[in-house]
């Protein structure tokens, strides 16, 4: 029991509210948003350490006991995600300082950004399914405004699609919650887990589980990703980077949580379905990434491949698979933010996004070029970098569960990812340098720092994978033994 658990939500909400009042003072807004995000990093580091020594941290809001009030639960999985979220948020906000433009800053960019972070953090730590819905909405409403802020034609077109799809998926979420409530009469994750285990997961519950899978697939871009490419290529770079890094990951987090904690009794139906969806997602995403000649589109399809790969580990439902999912989760949040920032910088410099129209940028911007090279290798899983270990574990997990086709497709799509990113690298950075530095549309002033931090992190994560192994193990332990989670929340041992 610790009040600190709620801080990752409280800090951004309060700072965001304050920034709404301080609208005119942009310097102060920048300072305060950096200040609060650094605060978030410190708090999450402390919480990670706390969980390592004392186990799962829970907070019963208002002092009501577990199934009756809203409980906030922080296990190692959530805590690691909180930490990475705040690091990525720091880099994106640093990038936004020099790229987002005065007008957007003036119209509540920073408050909206912080509310988005609050929604994401809330989704990671909540222990109640309706509260998860509310946190999703906090995140989504901020993302609706962030995607349309500035009001260019491209953004307006994309935001109509994005909002419609997300409103519908929110309704489906509510429908699923209504069914769940009718069957079990409870909304608390831990309590639901106990009830499902007691009654056995028969026909109707599997149906509800699949309805949840559809809802979260819509959010995560698992198979139902038709809305994703245009929405993620429309907004300014700092915003699309935070979208690519966080929004789909919240959907994936929800799938992992639900299908390891509540609906884990029929893996031959539900987890196989996740596996099939993941395989199709990877294939379609890879085809999209290879097909387009536009930087924005290629990167958006790479997000989809990443989603498929992450869920392949969940589908295997083995210790190795989930360990891989966790490693890859951390890597993918950092890697996707990095590659979106790099791609955005290329577009910012050249003013175009078509691959055929640019070449030879390496002479003018060697640092940018080599960072892109490292990011591309990391995302496709080349050994010393961060993507490798996750891919190894996920592939091992799928082979253990005898889903050889799933592991095979995962490895095949890694090749496609490498090809699509190298296509950008070779077209943009190699070749004859056609423009001089004076002819460029923008500068990299101030933009290199956040990308440098993220690049350093991918390298560190790859080299120092051993260092975080202990933490990942703790997280996987809770995912594989839901009774630990239930015991921490309800204070009872469900097996006794």
């Amino acid at each position: 029991m610790s009040n600190l658990v709620i801080l990752p939500v409280i800090i951004p909400v309060i700072t965001g509210l304050l920034l709404v009042i301080l609208r005119k003072y942009i310097r102060l807004q920048r300072f305060l948003s950096i200040f609060s995000i650094v605060g978030l990093i410190v708090v999450s580091l402390y919480l990670v350490n706390e969980i390592k020594t004392k186990g799962i941290q829970t907070l019963q809001l208002g002092g009501w006991e577990a199934p009756f009030g809203v409980s906030m639960v922080l296990d190692m999985f959530s805590a690691l995600l909180l930490l990475i979220t705040s690091i990525v948020a720091l880099c994106c906000v640093l990038y936004a300082f020099h790229s987002i433009g005065r007008e957007r800053e003036f119209f509540y960019f920073y408050p909206l950004f912080l509310f988005l972070i609050a929604g994401v953090n809330g989704s990671f730590i909540t222990g109640d399914i309706f509260n998860l819905f509310v946190c999703f909405e906090v995140m989504l409403v901020s993302s609706y405004v962030l995607i349309s802020i500035g009001g260019t034609k491209r953004q307006l077109k994309a935001s109509i699609k994005y909002i419609l799809v997300n409103i519908l998926s929110s309704f489906l979420f509510l429908i699923a919650i209504a069914y769940l409530y009718a069957i079990y009469g409870t909304l608390n994750f831990a309590h639901l887990s106990v009830r499902v285990a007691e009654t056995g997961q028969v026909g109707l519950m599997t149906t509800v589980a699949i309805l949840f899978l559809i809802v979260f697939s819509l959010k995560a871009g698992l198979f139902l990703f038709f809305w994703l490419p245009s929405s993620y290529s429309a907004p300014p770079t700092a915003i699309s980077a935070i979208f690519a890094s966080l929004l789909t990951k919240v959907g994936i987090y929800a799938i992992v949580r639900i299908f390891t904690l509540v609906f884990y009794h029929q893996p031959e139906t539900t987890h196989l379905l996740i596996g099939i969806l993941a395989a199709v997602t990877m294939l379609l995403g890879a085809i999209g990434a290879v097909a387009y000649g536009d930087v924005r589109r290629i990167l958006a399809y790479n997000v989809i491949v990443g989603v498929g790969f992450l869920l392949a580990g969940v589908a295997s439902f083995t210790t190795q698979g989930l360990t891989g999912t966790l490693y890859y989760f951390i890597h993918d949040m950092i890697g996707k933010a990095l590659i979106f920032l790099l791609g955005g910088t290329i577009i910012h410099l050249t003013g175009i996004s078509k691959l055929k129209e640019m070449s030879g940028l390496i002479r003018l911007h060697p640092t940018l070029g080599w960072m892109f090279f490292i990011a591309a290798l990391a995302l496709s899983g080349i050994p010393p970098l961060s993507g490798f270990l996750g891919k190894i574990f996920i592939t091992e997990g799928t082979f253990h569960a005898s889903y050889y086709w799933l592991g095979g497709i995962g490895l095949l799509t890694s090749l496609f990812v490498l090809y699509s990113l190298m296509k950008i690298f070779m077209n943009v950075f190699w070749g004859y340098t056609e423009i001089t530095i004076e002819e460029e549309k923008g500068t990299t002033k101030g933009l290199l720092l956040p990308m440098g931090i993220l690049t350093a992190l991918t390298i560190l994560l790859g080299l120092g994978a051993e260092g975080i192994h202990e933490y990942v193990d703790l997280a996987v332990d809770v995912l594989m033994n839901p009774s630990l989670y239930v015991e921490a929340v309800l204070g009872i041992d469900p097996k006794a």
Partner: protein, 112 residues
């Protein structure tokens, strides 16, 4: 009673789905609104429609209606209200800027 309500919810969802699949942007928003109503009614129905007093402690009834679904839809209603308002304003703005309210024609408009 629950059966009747379920059929009613089904009809509302069918109407909403039909409206969302049309081309006109305003009809699409109306469709989402109707589905929103259907979802709220569904939550109330799924909580059970037994006879009982309103969930107020000073009415000395022996049984009360389940108060949790009521709290849930109250939350869902305000969220739905906010997103619908945002969606309406956004479609107004996009009508001003893009000049069409037909989703089929939206595709043909240049980005810049």
């Amino acid at each position: 009673m629950e059966t009747l309500m379920s059929i009613f919810v089904g009809v509302l969802v069918a109407i909403g789905t039909y409206l969302i699949l049309t081309k006109n942007l305003l009809r699409i928003i109306l469709g989402t609104s109707i589905i929103g109503h259907a979802v709220n009614i569904l939550i109330i129905t799924m909580g059970g429609l037994k006879k009982g007093g309103p969930p107020l402690l000073w009415t000395k009834d022996l049984t009360y209606a389940d108060s949790l679904p009521q709290a849930l839809i109250l939350t869902a209603i305000v969220i739905n209200f906010a997103t619908t308002a945002l969606f309406l304003v956004l479609s107004y703005r996009s009508y001003q800027v893009l000049g069409v309210d037909d989703t089929e024609k939206l595709r043909g408009i240049d980005d810049e």
